[in-house]
Symmetry: none
Subunit: 141 residues, 4 copies
């Protein structure tokens, strides 16, 4: 089971709306499917050019490890060399901070992940959660 | 000058509509800015999971070289080792076939590129051009 | 939707039995899920040490592109530089020959892929198909 | 001397049984041979998609360095830059934590390694040891 393009679009649109509502800096939002593959992405005008890779890295680590960005950050703070090694095996594609949010259905199955970057990590996560709630799924930040 | 998110969204939406109109296989469409950085991407339901990288590779080569996918393909057919070497310097991120379309304004300035994948390379290019025409820009396929 | 470990084990066991029945060289068999991630793998005694990567490359390309090994080989023979470029965007992980078999359910949805290596590409594909038939799924070689 | 597929299968099956007995999270188990090459792998249903790379990284470092995961972790905690450098020379493929268990015969010769991931590192190691004991070999965790 995975995420449809229709739902991915809504998640992104609502996450960006939340960013405007909270007056956050320009955001970039990616939705990955249950295999960690890109379903949809948008970068707001004014965001730095390299934001795709940061948004992707937050969401990719969440899917591949089955751990939210907050859980990854806690592990990185306890055991930095472990998260560094994890990044080695994943080709350096993991960004272990909040803003990487697991996307689950009501039964808890992982459907993918959302990655948001542009403001503080906590604000990025809040925008992701707003998008996820808008499609009736459960976000684990 | 570059491409706005609003225009990138419209390009993607119209390219996907063209695909449905022509009854093409599920498409994936990326829009890159004038620096070759991802602005927006969507993958239709039913497309293979790895389509982001192909769409990106078509558009990335177009921006980085300032050459359309068709021009890159012609060069690859004349001089395969040259396009292989180009790929070496660009980290293997270039897919030199039609479906990578340069995005120009009316004066000819490059604003970015569109990459489409999923059907034949020529149909992919036709979908990209339909999206680009919808925003009043000029596509070089 | 994806493939269970129980089914993956049966596919591998039956593919290896087919290899013994046909008196093939020692085989290595991988089953990837719908996201291209390893579910199960076995390498028979006497197989060369590097066979995991070949089996993986056959199955990985099939999932990521949604194309069987035979279809990838045909494309490589028509347009070698295209498959070389595809390999660039997938980190050199694609082996475009028979023995990479798409795994579909009765409705045609891709559940993953099976990769077999060790004998001729056609015999590798025959072993993969035998394993897939044993679990009531449809293989596209 | 190395590990047979028959023994590798038993190690994996018994490690997974131990995980169920201890009610651990879904586990992924790899067995590498004396050259650090994959002999067999299984990922339980419900495990995150990226678990192959973590299991492999735990076992690969053990074989390549001839050091258990615990010994690697101790070294990483004393001298993080050394394990980071080791990862550089091994292409980032080493995950230096418990759950990477050296596989020795009764005389102490290294036959390969087992890598387990999914629960806590210590529980992962316990599952690996249970699998190794089941085939009458000696595990160094």
């Amino acid at each position: 089971m995975t995420i449809s393009l229709r739902r991915a679009r809504t998640i992104i649109r609502k996450a960006l709306e939340k960013g405007r509502e909270l007056n956050l800096k320009p955001l970039s939002v990616v939705v990955l499917d249950a295999g960690g593959h890109v379903q949809a992405f948008e970068r707001e005008d004014g965001a730095a050019p390299g934001r795709f890779a940061i948004a992707h890295g937050k969401a990719y680590g969440a899917v591949m490890l089955g751990m939210s960005g907050s859980a990854q950050m806690a592990r990185a703070e306890q055991q930095a060399y472990f998260m560094a090694a994890v990044n080695g095996v994943y080709g350096g594609q993991v960004v272990p901070v909040p803003g990487g949010v697991l996307l689950r259905d009501k039964k808890g199955a992982v459907l993918g992940a959302v990655g948001v970057t542009g403001d503080t990590s906590d604000n990025d996560a809040a925008a992701a959660l707003a998008g996820i709630e808008a499609v009736g799924l459960v976000g684990e930040a």
